[in-house]
Amino acid sequence: MSILQIKELTHYFGGLRAVYDFNLDLEGGELVGIIGPNGAGKTTIFNLITGVYRPTKESIVFDGLDLVGKESNWIIAHGVARTFQNIRLFKELSVLETVRIACYSQIKYSVVDALLRSTRFQREEEQILNESMELLSLFNLDRLADEKSKNLPYGLQRRLEIVRALASHPRLLLLDEPAAGMNPSEILDLMELIQYVRKKFNLTIILIEHQMRLVMGICERIKVLDFGETIAEGSPIEIQHNPRVLEAYLGEEE
C-alpha cells in the first residue's frame, strides 16, 4: 500500500532552483535513502514535506491527506515525524520534558481541564508520563530522564532526537543525517537502532545521509539528487555502479 506520494515537487529560493521535479512513491514499511552532494536539495525536501517551506509547485499526499499548505504541527500530528541535521533539542529542558513536549498533539484536554486539574487532565498526564518513560527506557535513556538534554553526550543527543520524533506516534519517519559526526562504531549502533525502530514501531523511513556505509547497509532503495534534480534511483548495488552518480560525487572521468 502506498503511504506517501510526492509528484513533481519543485521549489525555488528566489531564482535558485533547490528542488526540481522530485517524485517519490513510498510503500508502507519501506526504507528509502536520499543521497547527494551538499546543497543538492535533500533537506529542502524534508522541509517541504513537513511544511517548513511551501513548495512552488507540487503535490504531496501522505496516507490520503494532502500535506501542501498545512501547518507543520498539523502534519506532525497526522503521523509524519523528523529529526534534524544539526541537532535541535530543547537544550535547557530535561530529557523527559523533551519527550513529553512531543506528545502535545495526543493530549485532548482543554485549558480549563488544565487549570482545574480535572480527572481527565490527571488521566491523560499520567498516561503521557508513563508512555514517555517507557519510550525512554526502550532506548536506555530513562536513567537520564531528569538530566538537561544539553548535558547528554553527542551520540545520546542524536538518540534523544529520534525518541522525541517517535513520541508523536509517527507512521513516516524522516531522518536527516542521523550519523553526522559519528565514528564507525557509533554508526554500527545507529544502523541497528534504525532497524529496530522500524520493526518495533512499524515505520516507513526516509533517510538522508552522507555516510555510504549506513545508506548502503540498510536502505532498500536509494534516490540520488544533484542540484535539485534526481539523477539516479535504484537498489544500493545499482547506485554504486551508476556512472552519473560517480560523476556527481567524484567528477568526470578524464
Binding site: E71, F84, L93, Y104, A114, F121, E125, L129, M133, D146
Partner: protein, 361 residues
C-alpha cells in the same frame, strides 16, 4: 511495551500528603492575618498599603513572566493591559453598578465581578498583540507592544467622557488585604497550573526553539494565543486592584515606566519561575519604599534640600538595576528554577518514582 512500572499519581500523592497539609495550613493562617491586621491595626497604614502594592506587583510580575520568562518573548505591553483592567473595572464600580448597596455586599459581589470584567477586557485586547507575535519575536515584538502601549495611552487620553488626560476618579477603596491575597493566590494557581500542563510545556518549547517545537507537533499559534490571553487577564485584574487602592487613575500612570518596573521584578526575581516572580515583586517594591524613606530623611537635611522625589529617582534606580542584572545575572535570582512546593509532584518526582519502581521489580 513493558507495563511493569506504571506511575499512579495516587501512590505518589500519599507520600507527600503531609507537605500539602502544611502548605494549606500556612495559607489559612496568612489569610486570617489579612483580616486581623487591618481590623486590629497590627501594622501601620503605610505598611498595610505597601503590602497591598506588593500583592498587585506579584500578580503583574507573574503575568509579565509568562511572556518574558516562559515564552521567551519580550512584552512592553503589560502596563496597557493593566490600564484597560483599571479603567474597565473603575467605570463599572463608579457608573454602572448600583452605589446604594450595602458596603459588604458591594465588596463581596460587585467588586470581584468588576475585577474579573477588567481582566476579561484586557484578555480580549491582548489578541491584538497575540497575532503579531506569530510573525515577530524578541526585540521586534517589544516594539509592537510598545506601540500598542502608546496607542492605548493616547486613546484613553483623548476620550473626554472618562476624564481624558485628567484621569478618572470616584472609586471606593475596595481593594482590601483579603482580596489582594485571594487574587494573588488565583494568579499563582492559574500560572502554576498552566505552566505545568501540556500548554505550558508548549510555551517553554517555543522559548527553546520555535521551529523545532512546531516540528514536534506543538501548535505554537494556539499556545501563544492562550498564553497572551491568560497573561493579560492577570494583568487586567492587577490593574483593577490597583485602581481601587489608588482611587485615582490617569493614562500616564500606565506608560512605559510602569512596564519597566515589572521587567525589573521579573529579571530580578527570576525568568521562568513563579517563585522568582514573587521574590522579585517583593524585593523590588521593598527597595523602592526604603528608597522613599531614605529620600524623605535626606530631604530634611539642609545639604540635600530640594533633592528630587522618588518619582524621579526610580527612573535612575530601575534602569540601573536592569543594567546590572543583565550584566551579572541575567536570569535572575531564581532563574528557571522553582520552589519545590510549587511544582506538581508528577513533574517533580515522576521520573524518579518510575525508576524506583522499575528497580524494585
Amino acid at each position: 511495551m513493558t507495563t511493569k512500572n506504571i506511575i499512579q499519581l495516587s501512590e505518589l500523592d500519599g507520600k507527600l500528603k503531609n507537605k500539602q497539609w502544611a502548605l494549606a495550613f500556612a495559607l489559612v493562617i496568612l489569610f486570617t492575618l489579612t483580616f486581623l491586621i487591618p481590623h486590629y491595626g497590627l501594622l501601620n497604614e503605610y505598611i498595610q498599603l505597601t503590602i497591598i502594592y506588593i500583592g498587585i506587583n506579584i500578580i503583574m510580575a507573574l503575568s509579565q513572566n509568562m511572556i518574558n520568562g516562559y515564552m521567551g518573548d519580550f512584552s512592553l505591553g503589560h502596563a496597557s493591559f493593566m490600564l484597560i483592567g483599571a479603567y474597565v473595572s473603575s467605570i463599572l464600580t463608579v457608573w454602572v453598578f448600583p452605589n446604594n448597596w450595602n458596603p459588604i455586599l458591594t465588596s463581596i459581589i460587585l467588586f470581584p465581578v468588576s475585577v474579573t470584567a477588567g481582566g476579561l477586557a484586557a484578555a480580549l485586547l491582548s489578541l491584538i498583540i497575540a497575532f503579531p507575535s506569530f510573525k515577530t519575536r524578541g526585540g521586534y515584538l517589544a516594539l509592537v507592544t510598545l506601540a500598542f502601549n502608546m496607542i492605548c495611552v493616547s486613546v484613553v487620553q483623548n476620550i473626554e467622557a472618562i476624564g481624558g488626560g485628567r484621569g478618572f476618579m470616584g472609586m471606593e477603596k475596595l481593594t482590601t488585604m483579603p482580596w489582594v491575597f485571594i487574587w494573588v493566590l488565583i494568579a499563582v494557581w492559574v500560572v502554576r497550573n498552566f505552566v505545568y500542563s501540556n500548554f505550558g510545556r508548549g510555551v517553554v518549547s517555543i522559548r527553546e526553539d520555535e521551529t523545532a517545537a512546531n516540528l514536534v507537533s506543538v501548535n505554537t499559534k494556539q499556545v501563544k494565543v492562550l498564553t497572551f490571553v491568560i497573561s493579560s487577564f492577570l494583568a487586567g485584574t492587577g490593574g483593577a486592584l490597583f485602581a481601587h487602592v489608588l482611587l485615582f487613575i490617569t493614562p500616564k500612570t500606565f506608560q512605559l515606566q510602569k512596564n519597566v518596573d515589572f521587567l525589573v521584578m521579573v529579571y530580578l526575581g527570576g525568568m521562568g519561575s513563579i517563585g522568582g516572580s514573587i521574590l522579585g515583586a517583593v524585593t523590588y517594591t521593598v527597595i523602592l519604599e526604603l528608597l522613599r524613606e531614605a529620600l524623605s530623611i535626606l530631604g530634611t537635611m539642609p545639604i540635600f534640600a530640594g533633592i528630587p522625589s522618588l518619582e524621579v529617582w526610580r527612573w535612575v534606580v530601575a534602569p540601573l538595576l536592569l543594567i546590572l542584572l543583565m550584566i551579572y545575572r541575567h536570569e535572575g535570582i531564581m532563574g528557571f528554577r522553582e520552589f519545590g512546593f510549587i511544582v506538581p509532584y508528577r513533574d517533580r518526582f515522576g521520573a524518579c518514582f518510575w525508576l524506583k519502581k522499575g528497580r524494585a521489580n
